[in-house]
Symmetry: C2
């Protein structure tokens, strides 16, 4: 009988645990040891912030498995409070420190799986030691203990996923929250005119949101901002992003990638063929650029863990798919989802792109409860390939981004989105689904039937002598309009053409649809016209986002 394989897994959450359990299902004989530095394995990291407010009531519901349950079901040897401190690649051994007894011992392996995750970036300013992070159960326990002392003010550093979720849950507890963001918007995976919707909602909920602001110094109960202002902060949460935990890999001489994660091939193998790496510490390939990137997403960690198990058990391995980075964050019911690259990032690389904004309802507008969402599609203008999409709104935003993420994975074009057959009844969609609409609008631009400009290009056109034509109703125009815009409602446009002959006009309506019809009428009548993509609403959101960029 062949000696069973011995596999050591470092890190017992997400990727590491997916690898271990899959491996057991593939190989009943293997000797599988899982080392976890914290006191817990297989906990729900993404659920941690929701226990702060009691939205997730029971701490125990965040514990998906225990060492005992994993031993019973998967015959895994799971050791918590066990830190791998050194790898000896020649001997194929790991030095393990028992963090309770402080004893160290040597564990041998045939294959080693690194799943150490990423460490929260913590502030280094004077007094910052009291800042808490939200990475594991120990962090949560520490935070819950602080909350026992009935703090009334909190400071959150960072306006990404964790910062927004922590802020939501602290607000729900009745705590006055200040959130500092070093940059000029929340969520760097969104463009400013999309991210501003989150800003508005968070401020409406009472979050004191400060852009272009950092902390200078902390005292026991206060913080001095980079603006010089001193504010109260009973508790401080740091959510300024994470850094891959690569110390152990570096010490072992494994190759580190250009983004500072552990370098792996498409089967998650590191530069040492007996060592694999998965999860937040391992580099991924970016789907749009083909370049290495980091991506701290649970779905990728699990999938790559699954893949490593196959590689070790010599089952067929599907090479890792380049990462699209599909993600979503929710603040009090307002979801902000994205996939692929932003317009900002693509413009910074001078890519030739096409943009489509739309403001569709989540389902048939005549059925009760319809809500408007904001969608954005970003397309390669040369190939019609989808490069990114963003959605902000209530119910149904996740669905549209998932459909587009699927389209991107499959490599169908932006115009193909018009052909998708999506499930429709009045509660769930429209006969032309929002995703279909994005496809139709894109195709109209791609085929030259309409020309659009973006909200941030309006000033440029105005400076070049273009006039602004508002084709909304008189009432809509009165309720809020751009400076110096002419108002000719679409339904009276044909009888008012003489006012426009010889002019160059940027047409706009509320969301872009009537503007498109008007642009078609004008163009066919010989008036040079472009349609403002996304209409007044997108322009207004864009201008609001600039307010924070000052």
């Amino acid at each position: 009988m062949v000696r069973p394989k011995k596999i050591v897994v470092i890190g017992g959450v997400a990727g590491g645990m997916s690898a271990a359990t899959r491996l057991r299902r593939l190989d009943e004989q293997a000797d599988i040891v899982v080392l976890e530095r914290s006191g817990y394995v297989s906990f729900a990291n993404c659920g941690l912030p929701y226990h702060l407010s009691g939205t997730i009531e029971q701490r125990s519901s965040l514990m998906l498995q225990t060492p005992a349950s994993l031993a019973a079901r998967f015959a895994l040897d799971v050791r918590v409070k066990s830190e791998a401190v050194e790898i000896n690649r020649d001997a194929k051994t790991v030095i393990v420190r028992n963090l309770e007894t402080k004893n160290e011992y040597v564990e041998s392996y045939d294959f080693l799986i690194l799943s150490p995750g990423a460490a929260p970036v913590m502030p280094g300013q004077p007094g910052a030691e009291r800042a808490m992070s939200m990475r594991d159960i120990e962090d949560l326990d520490r935070a819950m203990a602080w909350l026992e002392s009935k703090p009334t003010t909190a400071l959150v550093l960072g306006g990404g996923f964790i910062g927004i979720e922590v802020a939501e849950n602290l607000v729900k507890r009745g705590i006055q929250v200040t959130l500092l963001q070093r940059g000029n918007q929340l969520m760097k995976n969104l463009d400013p005119e999309m991210a501003v919707m989150l800003t508005t909602r968070m401020r409406a909920a009472g979050v004191d949101l400060r852009f272009n602001t950092t902390a200078r110094e902390f005292t026991k109960k206060t913080v001095t901002l980079s603006t010089g202002e001193e504010i109260s902060a009973d508790v401080i949460f740091s959510a300024m992003g994470v850094r891959p935990e690569i110390g152990l890999a570096q010490l072992a001489g494994l190759r580190i990638g250009e983004n500072g994660g552990i370098w792996v091939d498409a089967e998650q193998r590191t530069s040492d063929p007996s060592i694999f790496a998965v999860g937040d510490a391992a580099e991924k390939t970016d789907s749009i650029s083909g370049e290495p990137r980091l991506a701290t997403l649970a779905g990728l960690a699990n999938r790559h863990g699954h893949s490593v198990a196959n590689a070790i058990a010599q089952a067929p391995v599907v090479p890792a798919t380049p990462a699209l980075g599909t993600s979503i964050v929710t603040f009090e019911g307002l979801a902000a989802a994205s996939v692929g690259w932003t317009e900002t990032a693509l413009r910074a690389e001078s890519r030739n792109i096409r943009i489509v904004h739309a403001h569709p309802a989540n389902h048939a507008a005549y059925y009760p409860g319809a809500e408007t969402m904001r969608l954005k599609l970003i397309v390669d203008a040369d190939t019609d390939k989808i490069l990114g999409a963003q959605g902000v709104g209530g119910s149904g935003v996740d669905k549209r981004i998932d459909v587009i993420a699927t389209a991107m994975f499959a490599g169908i074009t932006a115009s193909n989105l018009a052909q998708l057959e999506l499930a429709y009844d009045p509660q769930h969609g429209s006969a032309k689904d929002p995703v279909n609409m994005l496809g139709y609008i894109n195709r109209n631009i791609a085929e030259g039937f309409t020309r659009t400009i973006e909200w941030h290009q309006l000033e440029l056109f105005r400076n070049e002598g273009w006039e602004i034509l508002d084709v909304r109703t008189v009432g809509e125009h009165r309720f809020g309009a751009m400076p110096e815009s002419i108002n000719i409602p679409l339904d009276t446009l044909r009888e008012n053409l003489e006012h426009l002959r010889g002019k160059k006009v940027v047409v706009h309506c509320q969301v872009g649809q009537r503007g498109h019809t008007a642009t078609r009428i004008l163009t066919q009548e010989g008036v040079e016209a472009v349609n403002l993509d996304g209409g007044y609403l997108t322009w207004k959101a864009g201008m609001a986002s600039k307010g924070d960029q000052k």
Copy 2:
């Protein structure tokens, strides 16, 4: 100057109106006449049933456009109560009857677009004249007038989309509803073990659902069933499906397809190159079989209308994509969605297929409000191509079916579903989304790591001497189990292997997941084992569906 094109559109809803408005945006000069037999155009057909209960409160919210609004915005000549009674193809004219004045006149065309829709199949039994349908505003007005008389009982004929929606809204009004279904299940686009979930919900809501039952005779207040029973029925709704309105096309000698719809090519052109047809009256190509089919779906009608406008305006035409038939129906919050073919239909054609059932939660189970849904994936066992999918449940069912419909459109494989990067936060999904899970399970079967059988194959295996092994907990087993099943909980399976050596076992758990782990343990230990796909829940649903098939 070239004489403007003259286009006559017959039918002013969905496909016809999409064609007319798109045509105007492409051609400002064209002369566009829309003839509509009823008194209304561009109304929301799919919303009609919801006005019965007042869920959609205002009748006016069902009117999306009027002839006047279409004239103002799109310069269309829309004529309601105008029936096209004959086409003279040689002269390129249509005889139009004004249904109010009874006058007839001749209208010429360069291009004719037929969008006459489909007529409800009405019962022919004695006394059936009082049965109502739910096709247009006139039908709705008639129904609302009946409801004024405070009926207490209603009979609905047919258990498809319209029958279920009408039943929901009558129940909501407090009316006692009996629904007759000629066949042995609701919704023929679902397999029986999926459709039964709707049956259960409708019965729980008080609908008296009778399968394999038809109406024999109607009196003014009652109906005699095929069983001989006489029941009260103050109002009768017919929802037994529709037939394409092909009378006019037939009279004109246009080619009729093998499914009884108007034959069209991939640009929606009929056998006469000056005449196009779209919507419910036109045949489609089926995506799975490549054969002609009918499909009465608003999304297809709109898309094909758009395409016809391009063809007439000599803009680029995207040939019609074969129809997947993606659809959804909802009864009191329980959504039932599907795409592609059913297992039943594929087995009838002896196709080599693979089936996956899963019972995932719509989002992270630890986040409040998680609901279990039932999903089914049907795969070509030779090519791994996705042939169909079904989902029944609350929130999130539509999303998963839309993602799979997108995957089917793009032609990615069932195993690829595991690689999709879908948006995840605890409110919107799981790190392994339900769609990913379907992909993983399919791949395990495809690669031979696990062998599964379906609920309807269990008796066959039992008869061939296989034993049933329930690996759920003792408590779950006691709460409900299959006859003659052995219970060895998964977590104690390894220490009980001696009881199973030499046996052939069908393993099952609640939903299939623990069964998979158990099957892997047993197979590696030399015990011949197959896993029951979808576990106890799918088997139980399947058996319940058979109860109605007696």
